[in-house]
């Protein structure tokens, strides 16, 4: 990968929540890179640390209790973790923006949507009049398929899918180079999900924005992403292209996930789920966090955190089983 291509590089970031119940190990030395314009799918189950990563990039982790323990987040060469609050604010909503999960609650209910879009424009535009900025907000609304004359309406006057469009308009208003979409369609019905995802994909390629698409839905990933990262217990355990992950999954967890989904295309009488439950993030097991649920686990797995094995240019996995695979080749 050429350095110039690299947009975002997350290096060994660790984030803890220090709560009364103990320290929640949300992210454990996670590393990940993204290229300009690409769409990376980030997949994991509840508690895997997906949202923490998204908020961590924008430094929106509530503190207390959240603490960024270590690591670097390089965005276009700058370490976001070293910026002061003012510099960080200049980036938020401008070069990195974010779409949140629940469109029903992500808009301020007492502010007209036009104003909510204008607010982000206002925060990042200098030398423009109010009228110009409002016009820009209206343009954005049109772009996501909402008539501009609805800009004076309040969120409750819109349906869920429309609200998510407004949120997308907010996110894209300043032409960000990176869009973080945290489960943007989970709360929507499938037909609406299809509409919204199509629109995001279209706009993103038009604006050449890179997208970190966080989801638990492998189907959404398969239809929308270039590459996939699978997260488990605060770490990326497998990373690869769509073909790598869906056709040649290496990590037992990835395999388990794929086996858990009832298939539309094949007829399977019984699903083959992963046994057990996600580990308690305040009390992670030693070594590979997945080991207690893994049918292939051996003593080696509990001794230390497995290393990352590179299977191909694009495919990496964090599992001792891969070692044999690599050696085999």
């Amino acid at each position: 990968m050429k350095p110039s291509d690299e947009l975002l590089s997350i290096e060994k970031v660790t984030i803890h929540y220090e709560t009364e119940d103990g320290i929640v190990h949300a992210l454990n030395e996670i590393s990940l890179t993204m290229k300009k314009g690409e769409t990376l799918g980030l997949v994991g189950e509840t508690g895997a640390g997906k949202t923490t990563l998204a908020k961590g990039i924008l430094r929106l982790i509530p503190s207390p209790p959240g603490v960024i323990k270590q690591g670097r987040i390089l965005f276009e060469g700058t370490d976001l973790l070293s910026l002061n609050e003012n510099q960080m604010r200049a980036i938020r909503g401008n070069s990195i923006s974010m779409i949140f999960q629940d469109p029903m609650t992500s808009l301020n209910p007492v502010m007209p949507v036009g104003d909510q879009i204008m607010e982000v424009v206002e925060a990042h535009t200098k030398n423009a009049s109010k009228e110009e900025m409002y016009q820009q907000a209206c343009d954005m609304l049109e772009m996501v398929g909402i008539p501009a004359d609805r800009s004076h309406e309040y969120p409750h006057q819109f349906s869920g899918g429309m609200k998510q469009r407004v949120i997308i308009a907010i996110a894209l208003a300043c032409n960000p180079t990176l869009l973080i979409a945290d489960e943007p369609t989970t709360a929507l019905d499938v037909t609406i999900q299809a509409q919204v995802l199509d629109m995001i994909t279209a706009l993103k390629s038009r604006l050449n924005t890179a997208m970190l698409l966080i989801t638990h839905d492998l189907g959404v990933v398969a239809q929308n992403c270039d590459r996939v990262a699978i997260m488990y217990a605060g770490q990326v355990i497998e990373l690869g292209t769509l073909q790598d992950i869906f056709k040649r999954p290496q990590h037992p967890y990835t395999k388990g996930l794929l086996g858990s989904i009832p298939s539309l295309t094949k007829n399977v009488r019984r699903l083959s789920p992963i046994k057990g439950l996600m580990p308690d993030p305040t009390d992670l097991p030693p070594g590979c966090a997945f080991a207690p649920r893994c049918q292939y686990a051996s003593d080696v797995c509990t001794r230390g955190v497995p290393a990352i094995y590179t299977l191909s240019d694009t495919h990496q996995v964090r599992c001792v089983l891969a070692e044999q695979e690599v050696n085999h080749e």
């Binding site: 009364e20 509530p62 207390p64 209790p65």
Partner: protein
């Protein structure tokens, strides 16, 4: 089949307590209140054991010639307008000040809670009838209602209690109704109905236990309000009757001497203040502990 022996898991109460005790302010409030309860109980025991001798010889014993004397070695809080020992009166007053408020609020919590639960659960006509009646009571300022009731029934401990209790009923009814309305539509209520549970079982086993949290908080704060209301009634001459020591009436009757000596109003005033502060911070602590959503 052998039944497994299991250890008791954390109940919601212990969970709440665990969260509650992290809040030092609320904990302090609780300690203050517990000590007050202890004091009250011990004075009751002393009275029973000594056949009121201590009460007669120290609490209501007057010494008019030494009235209004400031704090001294013999009387650490000084003497009141009748030359009675303020310290002893403060101690003996705890049971009236604290328990009267508590009993009054307990009564109105039960009455208001039930009314609110019934109104919220059955809705429609029942709800309308009960809540319009509550609106009527609410439209009369509570202090006024209490005053009118005491004026009507005559000033006695029980009547003050009843008056305060009645004047707080609508508040509790509203609180419980509001939380019943949110709980009523939850799936676990439907689950109970799907199993064939009766209305009373649903109200008592499902709805009321789950609406306890706001009720407990409201009751804690209500006790504080009730103590103040009793003091207010004393100010209007309708509170606890002499020579029974009660902070509100002590403060109220001492107010004529407010400039004679600082101790005479400040001490009962502080007593009330500390108790109410304690109730308030404890109430807030409970609210936070019972409602984990409020935590970041």
């Amino acid at each position: 089949m052998k039944l497994p022996v299991v250890k008791k898991q954390r109940t919601l109460a212990t969970e709440t307590w665990r969260r509650f005790k992290k809040n030092k302010l609320a904990l302090t409030g609780m300690i203050v209140l517990s000590s007050l309860v202890l004091i009250a109980l011990s004075t009751i025991v002393i009275d029973l054991a000594t056949d009121n001798a201590v009460y007669n010889n120290y609490v209501i014993k007057q010494n008019l010639r030494m009235r209004l004397q400031g704090p001294s070695k013999d009387h650490i809080f000084g003497l009141d307008e009748f030359g009675r020992d303020i310290f002893m009166r403060m101690i003996w007053a705890v049971r009236y000040s604290l328990f009267m408020g508590t009993i009054a609020i307990a009564l109105s919590t039960i009455a208001g809670g039930l009314l609110g639960a019934i109104a919220g659960y059955y809705g429609k006509v029942t709800d309308n009838a009960i809540m319009r009646f509550m609106d009527v009571l609410l439209a009369i300022p509570s202090m006024l209602l209490a005053t009118a009731i005491v004026a009507a029934l005559g000033t006695s401990l029980t009547n003050v209690l009843i008056a305060i209790a009645i004047s707080y009923v609508p508040t509790f009814a509203r609180t419980v109704r509001a939380s019943v309305l949110t709980i009523k539509d939850q799936e676990f209520i439907e689950a109970a109905r799907a199993m064939g549970a009766s209305d009373s079982r649903i109200i008592f086993k499902y709805i009321l236990p789950n609406s306890m949290a706001p009720l407990i908080v409201q009751a804690t704060l209500g006790v504080a309000g009730a103590i103040l209301s009793i003091a207010g009634l004393s100010f209007l001459g309708l509170g606890i009757q002499p020579p029974t020591p009660e902070w509100g009436s002590m403060l109220s009757s001492a107010r004529a001497y407010i400039r004679e000596g600082w101790h005479i109003t400040v001490i009962p005033g502080l007593g009330i203040m500390i108790t109410i502060l304690a109730l308030n911070v404890m109430g807030d602590g409970l609210r936070d502990a019972l409602d984990p959503r409020l935590k970041n």
